[in-house]
Amino acid sequence: MRDNFVRQLSELARSDPRIFLITADLGFKVLDNFAEEFPNQYLNVGIAEQNMIGLATGMAMNGRVVFCYSIGNFSTLRCLEQIRNDACYHEANVKVVAVGGGFSYGPLGISHHATEDLSIMRALPNMTIAVPGDQWEAREATKALAATPGTCYLRLDKSPAPATARAKEVFYIGKARTIREGTDITLIATGGILGPALEAADSLVEQGITCRVISMHTIKPFDSEAVLRACRETGGIVTVEEHTIHGGLGSLVAEVCMDAGVKPNVFRRIGLRAGFSSIVGAQEYLRREYGMDAKAIAKAVAELVSAGSPHAPRPRLKVSSGGATS
């Protein structure tokens, strides 16, 4: 995703001199082309994330659109107060970019696991949050955030889902995408873990279970309507996030439902429950270890459908099997 982000940003930078990229000394080989092509729109500030966000705010106040690039934990946690007080409070055009959402850098250890960033960023006022699930969403989100006034957070993943875009599809910040239709359960996923969610939906067809799968690529503003429709139209909701279950996508969906007084028949949050992961491993390994891979998602859905079936409003919708609809 990061390569697509950089390619898209390069396209933007070519036509818009306001576009600026700051890195805090990360992006070996990834940012070289950008740096070479846009020497006046690129800066490596060294290993100094607090300074990066402060600088970006000052430059944004002079009219620039400043993307700040680092690994998930560094670009969010290390400089959280600068993001809050400097960027967000001043509604500065600062775009915080995290490469390595979730367990993208799984083998590197907990210092590099970005597993609380969404809850934390979500709490900040004046913050737009995009979490693309596939390469197309990564490019579209980059474009959309560049055009969105104010402070934004872009969380990129090392393992994107397979391509999900339909021909001529238009991407909107704040509008969830229904990737496939189904009635038994709605799987709502954010980020690259959309891939395992789709895989789970595929595997469940054999058991006669159909899933609606939603890519919730924007966490803020949140598409509450898509959630409430899923409550009304399908047998329940399962949220899938490569992130702590505390305060992230699952919490958000639960809040939306409670606020609206609309209860899904069955509900489960799939995400990180273990706290810190002191064991390491590839992203795929850690997803499996913490019950977030396709198999675990499918198992959870099957259990819920079986448990919820006496009460669930069974299929209300006529759907074309498996195909994507709007």
Partner: protein
């Protein structure tokens, strides 16, 4: 650096008016902290002369057009002394001095720590220390790229130099030769709980800034003529950011507040309030 429209933004007042402005800032600060039940009055009094010289004769800003693109930027990084900036801005014509009565009041936009929302002339909201120099450096860096001939002035507290982020910005500014960036440290030698020297020694302070690549001058932070002369000669060295370590007295101008840790947090009330104003009034 090429000359441009910035030179049309002449200082509003002649330098001699700064003494009067400083006194007004001090009186406002005592009144505002009394009315608002707030404090940091000692911190305002220590920087009042620096702020008065800047707004009185150095900053190229225009109260009738506070967003003008090539204006000088002033950042109060020691945001706890917000009362002093509100007073300076009001007295410089950015908004009515009547608004100052609402400092820290219920529903007011004038917070104890300086905030820009609804307050013309405030460039950056601060209050958490160690933020201002980075933002100022970003402004200065942006101006260099845009070939805008303006300066970013950042006023820091001495205690604020405990913050590592201040030094991140200091490294950046010299590396990128930001000679349009000015750091002024209000070195009143007292921080929240105790003297700086007992809390976390900054000395040799000037040497630290020099080692970080800045051109440094130690100045008397209460001597208007000296401050005016120094601030008129920026950059001190072409290609280097300028740092002024301004030796000041915390609580300057009110005898019983001077050099006192107590008056970092104490609110002037009752006879102390009257006495403070009397002292300042007799200064005219």
């Amino acid at each position: 650096m090429e000359q441009n429209a910035a030179t049309n933004l002449r200082p509003r007042t002649e330098p001699l008016a700064s003494a009067e402005l400083a006194l007004k800032i001090r009186k406002h600060a005592v009144r505002m902290t009394n009315l608002g039940g707030s404090s940091h009055v000692g911190s305002v009094l220590s920087m009042a002369d620096i702020v008065a010289v800047l707004y009185g004769g150095i900053l190229r800003v225009d109260p009738s057009n506070p967003e003008k693109i090539d204006r000088d930027r002033f950042i109060l990084s020691k945001g706890h002394a917000g009362a002093g900036i509100y007073a300076a801005l009001a007295e410089s014509g950015f908004f009515s001095t009547e608004l100052l009565e609402k400092h820290c009041a219920d529903g007011s936009v004038l917070s104890g720590h300086v905030s820009h929302r609804g307050v013309p002339g405030v460039e950056l909201s601060t209050g958490s220390l160690g933020h201002g120099l980075s933002v100022g450096a970003g402004m200065a860096y942006g101006s260099k790229l845009d070939k805008i001939d303006n300066r970013a002035f950042v006023l820091l507290s001495d205690g604020e130099c405990d913050e590592g982020s201040t030094w991140e910005a200091a490294l950046f500014a010299s590396h990128h030769k930001l000679d349009n960036l000015v750091a002024i440290v209000d070195y009143n030698k007292i921080q929240s709980l105790a003297p700086v020297s007992e809390t976390l020694q900054l000395e040799p302070f000037a040497d630290k800034w020099k080692a970080f690549g800045w051109s440094v001058a130690e100045v008397d932070g209460h001597d208007h003529n000296s401050l005016y002369a120094h601030f008129s000669a920026i950059p001190r060295v072409t290609g280097k950011p300028s740092c002024f370590i301004a030796h000041t007295t915390k609580g300057k101008g009110v005898s019983f507040m001077e050099r006192s840790v107590l008056w970092h947090y104490r609110t002037p009330r009752g006879s102390e309030y009257d006495e403070a104003l009397n002292e300042l009034n007799s200064d005219t």
